[in-house]
Subunit: 203 residues, 2 copies
């Protein structure tokens, strides 16, 4: 996929990106199986042959969407990741995640998690792509906690804490999506911040 | 649905239950949209007219499956719920959840959570049914924590703690399903037990 992207002209790259963005949006709104290639084609405003020029089949498009959503999720949080080595930075990240769900009216859940849940038992390749996206997310959270640990400010395993924080975030997002209220996400993240606080020696 | 169930003969109830169990299994293994009524009919070993006798459409069957999976999940944990008012009981529940995923080789995720993720954006009635199932689950977890709180052994809000624990469990199950290893579930639940422990005055 990467090789193919590099070989495209600038215009080709833009068309491909437009198809992926349209597919991502449709899969996010309707779920994976409800979003057909024909829907994607119409939403992207391209011809069927253009879709097939860039993507051999729906599986190739799905893998591109997983990569697209992973990058989008990580880019959105990028300004916060560097600050996750203080309680204040962790709180700002928590507030940003909650704020974002409020803006979405608690719709959609996690774009990666939702795809993951749909593919986990019927598409091993896509499952691994989602798992790989989550590892990058976990790694970004872990960085700040490892810095705190290295400074002697955190007296527990930063790796386990990062994975548990990502799990709390995912579960909080799912329950927030189902209940259409932000409270589950708030208490899930607050529980993790409370736990991190009890293991830190700084305010 | 309830009224209809009560009106059935014993044999009718058994046939209906067989159809629901077959549908639940297929939706769990393949995902909701991949499990057609024809697949369900074949797996249950009944005729098409029998399926339509009990369920007007796939939506009616889906709602019955959500109820079936909610009951199954709650029944499986029932022996543990009464003991969630001590750290020892909470640890046994945690171990049981992890053990169960190991037996499943980390496949399938949460039967309710997976359905919830699939229906959340395209089926409001099913979304509310899943949300209602999660409220029953949350309530069962909350009971033990409220008892600890009433005994003066827990110095934090048991309602928030129960919701956060359910969120950690859901996120842990999703990541465990995607990674096919039990570690995410373990650290997610351990983080919550660690947090509960810091708020308790008993061992």
């Amino acid at each position: 996929m990467e090789t193919q992207t590099r070989r495209l002209t600038r215009k080709g790259q833009e068309t491909r990106a437009r198809i992926v963005a349209a597919a991502a949006q449709l899969m996010y709104e309707r779920g994976l199986t409800e979003a057909t290639l024909e829907d994607v084609r119409a939403a992207a405003g391209v011809s069927g042959s253009q879709v097939y020029h860039y993507f051999a089949d729906k599986q190739a498009l799905l893998l591109a969407v997983i990569e697209h959503q992973t990058q989008a999720v990580l880019e959105m949080q990028q300004p916060h990741f560097a600050a996750l080595d203080t309680m204040a930075g962790l709180r700002q990240w928590r507030d940003a995640m909650v704020e974002y769900q409020l803006r979405l009216q608690c719709r959609g859940g996690c774009p990666i998690g939702s795809l993951g849940s749909e593919v986990a038992e019927n598409n091993p390749e896509a499952r691994l792509a989602v798992a790989s996206g989550f590892l990058r997310w976990e790694s970004a959270i872990r960085g700040g906690l490892q810095t705190m640990h290295a400074r002697g400010e955190l007296d527990t395993d930063p790796e386990d804490l990062a994975l548990a924080t990502l799990a709390a975030l995912q579960g909080g997002l799912l329950l927030t999506q189902l209940q259409r209220r932000v409270k589950p996400l708030e208490v899930a993240l607050d529980a993790m911040l409370d736990l991190i606080q009890t293991h830190t020696t700084t305010p």
